[in-house]
């Protein structure tokens, strides 16, 4: 049996959670004081995901950088591969909120989209 330690993010209590696992399956969650902790721990140990936010270089616009995010959450262990693609990308103005700037970033199947308006100059 494997044990994983986590801090719950459900509220400022920050309960210290212990998850017991076997063959990648959650057996039990300890340490939570409400159901939120249980739900969080089960997702976090089996399939942790994050939204990645960053900026991409933009040319011909009224700003040097356009802020971006992954359109949905991506596996946590892919964060740095996603960042590599984001850092090597260059796009040209204009950009509108929601525009797809990178398709299928780092093979995750998720797009990177603009989160701010950049006008052409």
């Amino acid at each position: 049996m494997e044990k994983r330690e986590l801090t719950c993010i459900g509220c400022p209590m920050g309960c210290q959670l212990t998850v017991s696992m076997e063959n990648g399956e959650v057996l039990e969650v300890f340490g939570n004081t409400c159901p939120k902790g249980d739900i969080y721990a089960r997702k976090e140990v089996v399939n942790p995901t994050r939204i990645v936010t960053s900026t991409i270089r933009i040319t011909g616009g009224d700003k040097e950088r356009v802020s971006v995010k992954t359109a949905s959450d991506i596996p946590k262990d892919k964060i740095f591969e996603v960042m590599k693609d984001i850092d090597s990308a260059v796009v040209s103005a204009p950009a509108h909120i929601g525009d797809v700037l990178i398709k299928d970033v780092a093979g995750t199947g998720v797009s990177v989209i603009a989160t701010r308006e950049i006008a052409s100059v």
Binding site: C8, P12, M13, I51, R57, R65, K69, I97, T115, R116
Partner: protein, 422 residues
């Protein structure tokens, strides 16, 4: 002199929400004065997500959240001036400002909404010993450099203070290839949200050292190393606990201070606890027709609350004008006192005649409280006693007062908010 009904000082989240709400409440003579070259304020550099869960029921990044309001300002045709610095606000609401196109100019306003926001506590206010080399930034300055200008301030980073901006920057610098060696926090608890500690520090294996502070900064021209030490209950460093970290950058995330130079010179009464104006139920200061909202009033944890509060300031400004700009400062009011664990309340007085049916009173606690009660007393009678699993200084608390409740309690003089163990 140009006359405008409502001048709003600041085009950040508070100013934008106040303007939109005032316009929707029926006023067509609104002017936003913004010193930056664009609207949106600090949200433009807060590119991380987590904004708007209360307001829009979805998780937005800072620029997206700001644009929801900026677009409304455009669509509603609300006037604004960028690159414009307000120099003075007089007691009779003459606003003196300047910019490159108009030079110095004055506007006579019926109502003024203070929405200048806050700034970060700088090194000079922290008494950190050591040299004064390059490489020391407030977390927000670093955030601007990385997210707006596209520069990295350094490669090896120590962060003092665990406010949310510091935590967010720990992750941001890590994602861009820097090594964040440690986050030191003077207090025995973090001032940041739990979620940020987990997703910005734990995710990347960045240690958070509570009850620690910086005791030395080395480097003649540029930072070369920072020494931190543990502090005792008196918050003084304990000899022998020093740890030295070589680094080229020190970020400071040690609290925010409402930016109230204009309010003070206008004669607005300030709260020594919040460093913001003292306001009544209408978010009006002691100067009739001068309202305050957002982080200039008190530092908020969530921008959603800023927008909500600023919207009320905008509506109240319109109401004040529609009611004939009456000076109600001598009207009977009920004082709200914060004591025993509650540090302050906003508002701090209520005119029961003018209050809405429901009034949100926001406050912060001074320590961490587990399974304690938020109690509200009307004079000596306890009328609210709500148990909370946890309250922390970093998170804003609120209670809601009903007008009918206050009216039923005839002759009410004083409302007290306190934290009780049982």
């Amino acid at each position: 002199m140009k006359t405008v009904d409502i001048v709003i000082v600041g085009g950040g989240p508070a100013g934008l929400a106040a303007a939109v709400a005032a316009k929707k409440a029926g006023n067509d003579s609104i002017l936003i004065l913004e010193r930056d070259h664009e609207l949106g304020g600090i949200l433009n550099q807060c590119i991380h997500n987590g904004f708007g869960l209360h307001t829009f029921k979805e998780e937005l990044t800072g620029p997206e959240y700001a644009y929801r309001f900026i677009k409304q300002v455009y669509d509603l045709g609300i006037e604004y001036k960028l690159n414009t610095m307000v120099m003075d606000i007089s007691k009779d609401k003459i606003v003196t400002a300047m910019n490159r196109e108009d030079g110095m100019f004055q506007i006579s306003a019926k109502a003024v909404i203070l929405a200048m926001g806050c700034r970060e506590r700088p090194r000079g206010a922290l008494n950190i010993p050591g040299y004064r080399p390059a490489g020391i930034f407030s977390a927000g300055t670093a955030q601007r450099l990385v997210n707006i200008e596209g520069y990295m301030p350094g490669r090896e980073v120590v962060i003092l203070g665990s406010g949310d901006i510091g935590l967010i920057m720990a992750r941001r610098m890590t994602l861009e290839g820097a090594k964040v060696k440690v986050v030191a926090e003077l207090m025995p608890y973090s001032g940041g949200l739990k979620r940020n500690i987990v997703q910005c520090l734990d995710d990347y294996g960045i240690p958070l050292k509570l009850s620690h502070t910086v005791v030395d900064i080395e480097g003649k021209d540029h930072v070369t190393a920072v020494t931190i030490a543990e502090v005792g209950p008196d918050r003084k460093p304990i000899k022998g606990t020093e740890e030295r970290y070589t680094c080229d950058t020190l970020l400071l995330s040690c609290g925010l201070i409402p930016e109230n130079e204009l309010s003070r010179s206008a004669g607005v009464t300030m709260s020594p606890v919040t460093s913001g104006p003292v306001v009544n139920e209408s978010l009006e200061t002691n100067i009739p027709g001068v309202f305050a909202c957002g982080n200039v009033l008190h530092v908020h944890d969530l921008v959603d609350y800023v927008s909500e509060e600023a919207g009320r300031a905008g509506q109240n400004a319109v109401k004040y004008i529609n009611d004939g700009c009456k000076d109600e400062s001598s009207a009977e009011t009920i004082e709200i006192t914060a004591t025993e664990g509650a540090r302050y309340t906003v508002p701090s007085s209520i005119n029961p005649e003018r209050m809405d049916d429901l009034l949100t009173v926001r406050f912060r606690v001074g320590d961490i409280y587990k399974n304690s009660f938020v109690s509200v007393y009307f004079d000596d009678e306890r009328i609210m006693h709500n148990q909370k699993r946890i309250m922390a200084p970093g998170e804003m608390e609120q209670i809601i007062l009903r007008k009918s409740q206050i009216q039923e309690h005839g002759g009410l003089k004083k409302i007290t908010v306190k934290i009780e163990n049982e």
